[in-house]
Structures are given as C-alpha cells and as structure tokens.
C-alpha cells in the first residue's frame, strides 16, 4: 500500500518544497531551475532522474527550457542606451532585462509579455520572447516585474506555480468534493487505490469517481453511463412494451393499431416487431417472424441480462443506505447503556459487525456491475472461450452467492440485536454469530478479490484492467502532510467520518477493554450529540484526549473482529 496524504492549502508549499529540495540537491541546480524541470516532468522526480541518467544533462535541461547562464552572457551591457527589438524604444541599459538564454528586451516589454501569459493561464511555462527560444523565464524576474505593475497578478502567478504541484502532478489529485473542500490527495505508490479525504469523501484515486472496486475504472464509467441510459428502459419494460427494431428502446402500443412509431422515428409492426413503413401484408408479417424474433429476442436478452445485474446492484446499494441508519442507533444504544444499569456495555462487537456489513455490502454491490462486464460481450468478448467464460462465471457466482447469503445473515443478526427486549442469553448468542460471520465474510471478500485478480482480470491478454485492492479495514484515509512526513510511520487521523470509530475501537483494544461490562472509557461525555458530519462529538472528544495515537491501518482484520 502506498502513502496517502492529504494536502491542504497550508501544506501545499511544504509538499512542493520537499520535491524541489530533492532535485536541487541531486542535480545541483537552483530552485527556479528545479521547478522548471519538475513542471516539465509533471512533478515526477523519478522519471526526471531516469531521463537524467539516460540523456546528458544538457539535453534534459534544454528540453525542459532550462538554460544555465554562461557568466559572459550576463555581463553588463557596455553601451548605456539600447534599442529594444520589440517596442523599438531606446532605453537605458538598466531598464533592459536579459534572460539566461542571453535574449534581452526592455522591462516594459517583458512585463507586458508576462501579463499576457499569466492572464492566459500559462504561468507555469512562460517562455522567452525571442522567436523559437525555448527558455523558461526566471520566476523571480517575472514576479518582480509584474508585481511592480500589477501586485494582484503577481500573486496569481505565485498561486499558479504552487498549484502546478497538484494540477501537473500524476501523484496528486484534487479531492472531487462538491463544494470543494480545498484539499488534494497525494498517493506515493500504486495509483489504483481508493482514498478518503480529510473532508470524509471516499473516491477512486485513479478516476476521481466514487469508490467502485472491484469494478475497474472503465467498467465503472461504462456502468454509470449505462444506468443513466437504461433507467428509462428498465422502467418501461415492466409495462407492455416492445423494443424498436432501430434503437432498441421499448415502445408502448398506443391504441389498437398495430403499426407503431418509435420516438426515434422508426415505424414498426407491433405484431412481428419488424421495421415497416405501412401496415404490411399478413404474408410478409409472418415470413420475417423467425429471424425477427431472434433479433428482438437478442435485444430482450441483453436488456434482461442488464436488469438482472442492475437489480442486484441496486438492492445492495439500497440496503447499504438503510443499514447506515443503524450507525446512529448503535450510538444511541451506547449512550443508553451508559446511563442505565445495563448488563452489556461493550458494543464493539456490534460496531465491528456493522462495519464489516458496510464493507462487504459495498463489495457485493459493486461485484454486480463487475460481473456484468466481466462475463458480457462489451469489454472482453474475445478474451475467453465460451466454455471458459461459463466455468469462471459459475465459480464467481458461487462466491458471490456465498458472500450474499452471509451478508444477509449478518444484517439480520445486527438488526435483531437492536431489539430492546432481548434476553442477555440471546444477545450473547447474537454476539457470537456476528463475530463469526464477520470473520467469515471478510474471508469471502478476500477470496472473491483473489479470484478476480488472479483468474479473471489477471488473465486478460489484450487489455489491462486494474482495480483498487480489497482493504479489509476499509478505504484508507489520507493523513495530514507534515514537514516530517517522510520519516513518519504513523498515520494520524484527524477527521471525523463514517469509519472513525475504527480508531476509537482499536485504541480501546490497546487499553485492554474487556467484554465484562466495565466501561471502556471514563471520559465518555454522556450528553453527546450528533453533529452534521454524522459523528458524535463524544468520539471526537475522546480522540483529542488520546492525542492522535498512531494507528496501523495494516492491522489484520482479525484484530477488529476478535473481540
């Protein structure tokens, strides 16, 4: 797993400095040249160094627009008056600026040039004014000249340079939250992963869409589009419709006439489904029937196939929404059990069970669009023989079914545990079931991913589909970037969101909490309330009290499910 960091407005400068310093030291160049080189190589220091080792230094520099000034080029101009080649004005030598490439023009002209380029959004690569000169202008010169005339524009120039670190950088992406939280996420390592910004949004780092593993980004993109396009179709099919022979959209019969027209303009015969301008003769109506039936049959099969996957995908997504309401119920219950003399006070098994339910529900839900594409004709038609496909599909569906059945069981037990009138014995029984099922389900998810990665996507020959790996403990939350982040092993979590109880829970483990009914923490504030992020203030208070303890996200899942 890679390093996942959140870059806030404040830490942007720090992050950039880090990379600049690295290149400045290695290549022995100034900061401005390091920046120019890094921008040219999209802030990928590794690829920059690889090019450096491969090509000679001069080529690397000239391609990026870096010119190391020869001392004699920068020698002060001898004459006191110089004619600027752009404005044709005679100016004194001290009003002329010469870039590293040796091209000098009057300061007014440079300033105008910079202003045009900054306004044009080209701050990151302002080239010398000389025709075909590739040299990137010195950022300090740009800043000085522009700020003398337009201080606000100089500020914008600096912001552009800073934001280049995000926009031109493969390893960094803006958080796609709307409205934007202002953060970016940096991933050092595999870019195929799912991340959680400190604002709480979880997304696929590779495509910036919602987290969608085990679907690949392409599968997910196609699926979202398909769902949008088909939503009408799926609704219509439930009433009596027939697919149009041209656009395959279902058409409803309007009145008794068997000659119908689709919205696409296609006329067709309701009886045989064939394209027809007019009422066609009964004889021809029958003669096409077989072939037609085969074709409309195919369209119908495609649609039914889609609906099969869509309905299951939708059912699990809907369940997930309903179950997420249980989160609040658990919090309420904990509050109650704290205040009353309730015999069972430790609910970590329930929290963990619920968390496992969320995780596996997501996997299950997204496994349907995955299967739709994996075993359909849209993407991998020629990758597998029909026999091979059938076999693999069976194996996959077996796993899917096992997972599904156990997820429903878990959901059932968790729901039951909210019954206030349960006997202690029954609660203990449920507790056992939830703990066992959680472990089993985690294992099934792992198995499903193994099958996907090794036997399905891993076997593709013509194309590559990468997916974010299964993370037993959930989507990795980005930690704050600090000056010392490079050497800092501990990922501190400063955010409050869906899964934040994880940290709370693990620290409880460390504190040696037991199931015997002793309060897990004395500092619980009983007047806790939910804030708008859906996180109880009590938890946050506790987190602060613990002073961001280190938490190893790679902790095996068993660690959560054991107690």
């Amino acid at each position: 797993m890679g390093w996942i960091k959140v870059i806030t407005k404040e830490s942007l400068l720090v992050a950039q400095r880090e990379d600049l310093r690295n290149i400045m030291d290695l290549l022995e160049v100034s900061e401005k040249h390091a920046r120019t080189l890094l921008i040219h190589h999209r802030w990928d220091a590794d690829s920059l160094l690889a090019v450096f080792l491969e090509k000679e230094r001069d080529r690397l520099f000239s391609e990026a627009g870096v010119t190391i000034a020869e001392p004699n080029v920068l020698a002060p101009l001898q004459s006191s008056q110089v004619t600027c080649n752009i404005c044709n004005e005679d100016v004194s030598a001290d009003a002329v600026t010469t870039m590293d490439c040796g091209h000098g023009f009057c300061n007014n002209c440079w300033t105008e040039h910079f202003i045009v380029k900054i306004n044009d959004g080209q701050s990151r690569r302002i080239r010398c004014m000389f025709y075909k000169c590739n040299t990137i202008c010195d950022e300090a010169i740009v800043r000085n000249l522009v700020s003398a005339k337009h201080p606000d524009l100089a500020e914008r120039f600096d912001r552009f340079l800073l934001e280049s670190y995000i926009e031109d950088n493969h390893k960094v992406k803006w958080c796609p939250s709307v409205p934007h939280c202002g953060n970016a996420i940096r991933v050092d390592g595999d870019g195929y992963c799912e991340v959680e910004c400190s604002c709480g949004l979880q997304f696929c780092f590779s495509c910036s869409a919602e987290a969608h593993s085990p679907c690949s980004c392409l599968m997910w993109e196609l699926w979202v589009k398909k769902c949008r396009d088909e939503s009408e179709t799926v609704n219509w099919i439930t009433v009596n419709t027939k697919p149009c022979p041209r656009c395959l959209k279902p058409v409803e019969k309007n009145g008794g006439c068997n000659h119908v027209r689709c919205i696409c303009g296609q006329d067709f015969c309701w009886l045989c489904g064939c394209a027809a301008d007019q009422h066609h003769a009964r004889s021809s109506c029958g003669s096409y029937k077989e072939e037609r039936e085969k074709k409309t049959g195919q369209a119908k099969r495609d649609l039914f196939r889609y609906m099969h996957y869509y309905n299951r995908y939708k059912a699990h997504t809907d369940s997930l929404k309903l179950e997420s309401k249980l989160k609040k119920a658990i919090q309420d219950m904990e509050t109650i059990s704290d205040s009353k003399e309730f015999s069972i006070k430790d609910f970590s098994w329930l929290t963990n069970g619920l968390y496992r339910l969320f995780r596996s529900r997501r996997v299950l839900s997204y496994s349907y669009p995955f299967a739709f594409y994996m075993f359909g004709d849209d993407l991998f038609k020629d990758e597998m023989t029909p026999e091979e496909r059938e076999l693999k599909q069976h194996l996959f569906e077996d796993l899917q079914q096992q997972l599904g059945a156990n997820v429903e069981k878990l959901s059932h037990f968790i729901e039951e545990s909210f019954d206030e009138f349960l006997q202690v014995d029954r609660i203990m029984g449920i507790r056992m079931q939830v703990i066992n099922l959680s472990a089993l389900i985690d294992n099934l998810c792992k198995k499903m991913y193994e099958f996907i990665e090794n036997d399905l996507l891993g076997r593709l020959e013509r194309v590559t589909h990468n997916i974010a790996p299964y993370e037993s403990k959930g989507v990795e939350r980005a930690s704050e970037l600090s000056d010392s982040w490079d050497s800092d092993d501990s990922l501190s979590m400063k955010t409050c969101n869906v899964d934040s109880y994880l940290q709370w829970d693990s620290s409880a483990n460390g504190a040696g909490s037991s199931e015997s009914g002793s309060p897990t923490d004395d500092s619980f504030d009983q007047s806790s309330s939910l804030d708008e992020s859906g996180c109880s203030s009590r938890k946050r208070a506790k987190k602060e009290a613990l002073d961001d303890p280190p938490f190893n996200l790679n902790l095996p899942a068993e660690g959560f499910d054991k107690n």
């Binding site: 752009i86 404005c87 044709n88 002209c109 105008e112 040039h113 045009v116 004014m129 075909k132 000169c133």
Partner: protein, 193 residues
Amino acid sequence: MLDLSRVQKELVDCNRDKSSGVSIDLVGDQLSHLAGTISGPIGTPYEGGVFRIDIRLPDGYPFEPPKMQFVTKVWHPNISSQNGAICLDILKDQWSPALTLKTALLSLQALLSAPEPDDPQDAVVAQQYLRDYPTFLGTARYWTEAFARRVSIGTEEKVQKLVEMGFPEALVRTTLENAGGDENMALEKLCSG
C-alpha cells in the same frame, strides 16, 4: 493598449520593401484593422494569384498574436475553404513578440508553398491532398483562377468608387461580396441600410 508606434513602424518597413511579395494596407482609420496582401508563390498552384488577408490586432499586440484570416477564397489543407481561417503555429502558441506582421505574412506565403496536411485546418482539402494530389492541384489552380486573379482588380475599382462615395471600406467589401460583385445592387443596399 495597442502599441501604435510599433504598428506604424511595421507598416512603413513592410511596404518599403516592394520585392517581398507581401504588403499591408490600412482598412479604415483604425490601426487595429489592416489588410495584408500576398502574391501566390511561383511554382505552386497559387502562382499568379493575389490573396487578401484580413488582419485584426488585439490590444495586447505584439504580445498577443495578430488575428489573420484569408478573405480571398483559397484551396489549401491549412486554410479553411469555408471561411479562410488559418492553421499556423506562429499565429497561435508559437507567436513571439519579436515577430512582425511582415514575418507573419511571409510565413503564410511559405505555407502556400509548403502545406502541412498532417495538421490540417480543412479536413476535406487535406484528405484530397494526401489521397489524390493531381485533383488537389487542379482544384487549387482553379480556385486561384476563379477567386485570386489580378482581374479581381475590377472589384478593387468598384470598392474604390463606393468608398469614395463615403461608405466605410469594410462595409463596402461585404456588401459587394453579398451582391455577388454587382456594383449597382451593392450601392442600393448600402443606401438602404
């Protein structure tokens, strides 16, 4: 603001050199609107033609590139046969303030000599150029004959006459063009509108 002194100097410099085959004239009384003329290069299907180019100078000129467009219809992969739009790097991101209108026009002349069909403005022309060069040559030559011959000086005379009657030149040109070169019809339109 447009650097007027530089533009004036450019006009003088460009028109002093008669041998270059390019020239620049004022269109109205604004230095920001000019008309360039280039003669078709010898040995190309454009030979013998005279091509007019509409030149608009943005406020940021010379730090922003001039906007140029062929007024004379021309059959060329990098020039739109529909509206005369030009695909040339120095008029876009390769523009340098150190270039001038004259160098830009000379580049256009060079473009007429050496089309770049891989970076086309007009896909139809570019395809013909690549797949059926003889037909391309024929069409380009025919268009030069039809639209760019010096005979169209006749048009210039009509323009001159109408401008002398007190109508702005730009308006005169478009009206004449819309009237299919019919002087009387153009005059009627100019008076009524």
